[in-house]
């Protein structure tokens, strides 16, 4: 029993890294993704193409490779980052690309009539996006954003490659030390608990934004 508590405490310690990576990535990647999606739909050709290239690279290569690149390859051109900074950079850039495509799909799903109504009322493009299009878009993209966010919880385990002691790596270390599988089950419970909380939050958000539906 005491040993079990010890394991739980150790894994709890590891989940701090996991949570930090998760939360900071989310807080940075969501706004960045929104900016990228707005650039994509802006009608500015060069900007839009650049964002398309960025999204292609981020979605077209493994997140693991991006992590390794940021941590091991950037130092060759003189950019040396700590392990957590490297992880945050790679995760944010990667997830912003996915979020951007979800936001873009959401923006493009809003009916033309909404833009036309705003235009005939004298609203500028910025006002239209900020007040009319984006609030409606958020409501529509909540389910896919929820999906990606849950993916992010689990993707955090990739940072073991940088030898960072996240939730899963701590569990694996104990398993390898004690030849006992219990830490894996405890780790699974931790992940499930996090996704449970996330699912609940997104459900609340959907209810909040859905109040104007019939």
């Amino acid at each position: 029993m005491e040993k079990l508590m010890e394991t739980v405490v150790a894994i709890l310690g590891g989940s701090k890294v996991t949570l930090e990576l998760f939360l900071v990535t989310l807080v940075m990647a969501l706004p960045l993704g929104l900016l990228v999606s707005l650039a994509r739909v802006s009608g500015m050709k060069l900007l839009s193409r650049l964002m398309e290239l960025y999204i292609w690279i981020m979605r077209g290569t493994p997140l693991m490779l991006q992590l390794l690149f940021v941590y091991f390859a950037l130092p060759m051109i003189g950019i040396r980052l700590s392990d957590i900074t490297a992880a945050l950079l790679a995760f944010t850039l990667n997830y912003a690309a996915y979020f951007a495509e979800i936001f873009r799909a959401g923006i493009q799903s809003i009916e033309r009539g909404q833009y036309e109504a705003a235009k005939t009322l004298g609203m500028t493009y910025t006002q239209t996006m900020r007040r009319i299009i984006i609030p409606q878009m958020i409501r529509r993209v909540l389910p896919p954003i929820s999906n990606e966010t849950i993916n992010l919880v689990k993707d955090t385990s990739l940072i073991y490659i940088l030898a960072m002691n996240d939730l899963l790596r701590v569990a694996r270390t104990i398993v390898q030390r004690d030849f006992d599988m219990t830490p894996f089950f405890i780790a699974a419970v931790f992940y499930l608990a996090m996704t449970f909380v996330l699912t609940w939050i997104f459900k609340r958000l959907e209810a909040h934004y859905g109040k104007y539906d019939a």
Partner: protein, 259 residues
């Protein structure tokens, strides 16, 4: 002198408007004037260019050539055969003189009825909620939907939504109201309430351009009727003469089908 008086009262003037969508020429040189307080009904078969004409007025469509004046100022000028639009801010100001009502209502679904009315005055005219709310509530009383002011559009019938859309356009105090088939998306029993609101507006001498299939409205509420077909104005006149004795064979055929 008489000419000057006349000029002063012209609210909208379109000259030789041409517009094509790809290979299809939808407007083949439209000339149109609308005077202050006039209610103009535009009728015609679908694909005749009547909605496009309306949408060119407030720049939802850009024209290929010709000119449009709104209250004496050019929204778009003809220069060496090309259509040259006013600068964005000026264009927005001129378009802002006109309110638009759409076939599909296009209310903002994430805002309540009252918020729908207040949004543009708040954002565009930078008014405060305290300044705009009484006027917005008065408009809702006028269209008979004050009780629904805190409801979301999805809770309203089509007829109610369209009346909110009319009130929303009026909240910007436009000089001219444009209606693009305002009752075409409604169940027949709901068109009456919308037409009633429009008749009341006409009775207050609002300048109105109405693209419609409602022959009864055109006959009773309009001062002038225009019949369009294939991107041209085929015939126009005051409703009595127009409906009683249409001159053109195309008009006669169309009216025979409609009535």
């Amino acid at each position: 002198m008489e000419n000057m008086m006349h000029d002063h009262d012209v609210m909208l003037r379109m000259r030789q408007i041409k517009k094509r969508f790809g290979p299809l020429e939808v407007l083949k040189g439209i000339d149109l004037e609308v005077c202050r307080g006039e209610v103009l009904a535009i009728i015609g078969p679908s694909g005749s260019g009547k909605s496009t004409t309306l949408r060119c007025l407030n720049r939802l469509e850009t024209i290929d050539s010709g000119s449009i004046e709104i209250e004496g100022q050019f929204l778009v000028k003809s220069e060496n055969g090309a259509a040259v639009y006013a600068a964005p801010a000026e264009s927005r100001r001129l378009v802002g003189c006109m309110g638009m009502v759409f076939q599909q209502f296009n209310l903002f679904p994430h805002m309540t009825v009252l918020e729908n009315l207040m949004e543009a005055p708040l954002q565009v005219k930078k008014m405060t909620p305290a300044e705009i709310q009484p006027a917005a509530e008065d408009l809702l009383k006028k269209v008979g939907l004050y009780e629904k002011r805190h409801a979301y559009p999805s809770r309203l019938s089509g007829g109610q939504q369209q009346r909110v859309a009319i009130a929303r356009a009026l909240a910007m105090k436009p000089d001219i109201m444009l209606f693009d088939e305002p009752t075409s998306a409604l169940d027949p029993e709901l068109t009456g309430e919308v037409l009633k609101t429009m008749r009341e507006l006409a009775a207050e001498h609002m300048t109105m351009v109405v693209v419609t299939h409602e022959m009864a409205f055109a006959r009773e509420a309009a001062n002038r009727v225009i019949f369009m077909a294939d991107g041209n104005i085929v015939e126009q006149g005051d409703p009595q003469t127009f409906f009683r004795a249409p001159k053109e064979p195309r008009t006669q055929a169309f009216l025979k089908n409609m009535l």
